[in-house]
Every structure is written in structure tokens, then in C-alpha cells.
């Protein structure tokens, strides 16, 4: 299991999603932009024009940052970088796929429930 040192500085939640998902979560006060010249955001708004490479790079950056404990990502956005999300196995930060306005939660795509099926030999 992960040691205490692995998570003691992880205080932020990051989010990758469509505008309404990000707005909703930022309203709850999880948004953070670091000060200084290299200001880092902990969110990415994805729309139809957002390139897959940009999503992939944000995902990579959020999962590499040592101050992020949870990465929330819309399930339909995760589908665009499915190979990256499915091959991500680190304990921290934890990735959680969340529904969006136009794409309700699909249990078939849920990595946790897929793991459950594997355990029961399906």
C-alpha cells in the first residue's frame, strides 16, 4: 500500500471535462491556479475543438503533479484517451470518471466494475 509520504501533500482535485462539468465543480471551490509566471491550472475545459493531444497532455500533467490527489474526468472525455486512462495504474493521484451533461454514467465503461467482473471470472 502507499506510504503516508505519498499522499500527505496531495491537496487538490483536478478536473478534465466539458464546460458545465468544470463550472459546477469550480463552484464548489476546488479550482486552483498557482501564482507566478508558470501559473498552473488544475482544470481543463474540453469542447469539440479541443485536440486529443491537449487532453492527453493535461491528463499526463495532472497525474504527474505531486499536489493532486484526485483527477476527475468526464467519462466521454476519458473515452478519447481510453488507452492512457486504462493503462494508468499508479495509486496516486486516483482517477475517477464522472458523468457529463450529454453523456450519462455508463457502468459498462466503469473501470471499477470491469475489475469486479474480472475478479469473478467473467
Amino acid at each position: 500500500m502507499a506510504s503516508n509520504a505519498d499522499f500527505k501533500d496531495r491537496q487538490f482535485l483536478a478536473v478534465i471535462g466539458d464546460e458545465d462539468s468544470v463550472t459546477g465543480l469550480l463552484l464548489a471551490g476546488i479550482g486552483h491556479i498557482t501564482a507566478g509566471a508558470d501559473a498552473q491550472k488544475n482544470f481543463l475545459v474540453v469542447d469539440n475543438k479541443t485536440e486529443t493531444a491537449a487532453i492527453e497532455s493535461a491528463f499526463e500533467s495532472f497525474t504527474e503533479r505531486k499536489d493532486i490527489g484526485i483527477v476527475l474526468i468526464n467519462q466521454h472525455v476519458a473515452d478519447r484517451i481510453r488507452h492512457r486512462v486504462d493503462t494508468y495504474t499508479a495509486a496516486f493521484p486516483t482517477v475517477l470518471e464522472i458523468p457529463s451533461k450529454d453523456h450519462p454514467y455508463d457502468p459498462e465503461k466503469d473501470s471499477v466494475l470491469r475489475r469486479v467482473r474480472r475478479l469473478f471470472g467473467e
Binding site: 506510504s3 501533500d9 469550480l26 457502468p107
Partner: protein
């Protein structure tokens, strides 16, 4: 013996799956409410005002942060801490305070009331009380100016406030619990696999022992 252990682990695992599914449902419901209310706010917005990324504050600071603690068997437990003042540039926090209520200001006053009820004998000089009040007011104004609702103007529409309440509920109560349940599920999965392996090994050893005994019996004949 080993089978019993596996059964008890499976029972624990099934309970976790049940909780996970319930939390998933709850999260979907809360998020649907958030989207509906943002849509309502956009629909009623004056002069085509859209409540979205164009209004985000470029200097925003987190008001709700994670608090991860090691639980049983070092499985991490995730919680959300609400801060009275946002995280500063170095990532340190001032005046950290856990709040149960989604409405920060309300929680503040309740906490103060509770404190005064718990310690009725602690008498304070009028000066101290004045200082406390000043401090409290400062915190309140700080909180009000840091409220993300302010990004969208002083008078945020009611649906946007409702969206914020629902979102806070999701962030404070559902998301951290979902992640904690997931971490616990991962831990139990490892235990189940380990127990199954142990059982398979024991079964293989028993078969080998039986075979050896059979061979000995044949040889004896």
C-alpha cells in the same frame, strides 16, 4: 478454514460494491441537478450571459482541499476539508477548519454558537470579544470575496446558487467516499486473490499427498 476466510472477504467485497453503486447513483443525481441548474441560469441570464469559463477568476484559489489519511491496513481514506481562507501561494493553509455543512457561513455561526454553549463559564473580556468579532467578520468577508459565485457578478441567480450547493454536496460527501471505497475494494481484491492462491496451493498439496499415499499402497502390495 481457508474457504471461510475467502467467503468473509467476498461478503465484505459485495458490501463495498453495493456502496459503490449507491454512491455512483447519488453522484449522477447530484451532477444532473448541477447541470440542470446551470442550464436554467444560462436560460434566464440577462443579455445572453453564459455562466462558463469566460468568467472564471484567473487568480482562483482552492477553498476545498483533500485530506488523505491512512486507514486500516494503510488503505487511504479521502476526506474534503473546507478552508476559511484559501490555499496560499506556497501551498500552505491558514485557519483550516473542517465543516460538515455545505453552507460555509452558516457552519461558522453554528460552530461559534456551539462553542459558546459548551463553555458558558469561559468569560471573555469585552476587548477579547471585540477582537473575536472583528476576526470573525474578516473571515466572513474573505470567504464572501473568495466565493466562486462572485466570478459571475454580485447578484448570482438562484439556480446558480442551487448548482453550487449540489456541487459542494458531491465534492464533500460523495466523491471522497467513492474514492475511499474504490481504494478499499482494491485492497480486498488483493486479499481475495492471495487467499485463493493459498487455497489452490493447499488443494494441490493435498492431491500430491493422496497420490503419494496411493503409490505407496501399490508398492506395498
Amino acid at each position: 478454514m481457508e474457504q471461510q476466510h475467502i467467503d468473509s472477504l467476498l461478503e465484505r467485497y459485495l458490501n463495498l460494491i453495493d456502496e459503490y453503486s449507491r454512491l455512483r447513483e447519488e453522484l449522477s443525481k447530484l451532477q444532473a441537478g448541477v447541470f440542470q441548474n446551470i442550464a436554467r441560469a444560462n436560460f434566464t441570464g440577462e443579455r445572453g450571459m453564459r455562466y462558463g469559463q469566460n468568467h472564471y477568476d484567473e487568480r482562483m484559489r482552492a477553498l476545498r482541499v483533500l485530506d488523505i489519511t491512512p486507514g486500516e491496513d494503510d488503505v487511504p481514506i479521502f476526506n474534503i476539508k473546507s478552508l476559511n481562507s484559501p490555499v496560499d501561494d506556497e501551498g500552505r493553509k491558514e485557519d483550516e477548519k473542517r465543516e460538515d455543512s455545505s453552507d460555509g457561513d452558516k457552519a461558522d455561526t453554528t460552530a461559534t454558537q456551539e462553542n459558546s454553549e459548551v463553555n458558558p463559564e469561559d468569560e471573555q473580556s469585552p476587548e477579547d470579544q471585540g477582537e473575536d468579532k472583528e476576526k470573525e467578520e474578516k473571515i466572513k468577508t474573505k470567504k464572501a470575496t473568495n466565493n466562486p459565485l462572485r466570478w459571475f457578478g454580485i447578484l448570482a441567480p438562484a439556480p446558480l446558487r442551487t448548482a453550487q450547493t449540489l456541487s459542494i454536496q458531491a465534492v464533500e460527501q460523495v466523491i471522497p467516499r467513492l474514492i475511499s471505497v474504490n481504494a478499499e475494494m482494491e485492497h480486498v481484491e488483493i486479499e481475495i486473490r492471495r487467499a485463493r492462491k493459498k487455497r489452490a496451493k493447499a488443494a494441490a498439496a493435498a492431491v500430491a499427498e493422496k497420490e503419494a499415499a496411493g503409490m505407496e499402497a501399490v508398492e506395498a502390495r
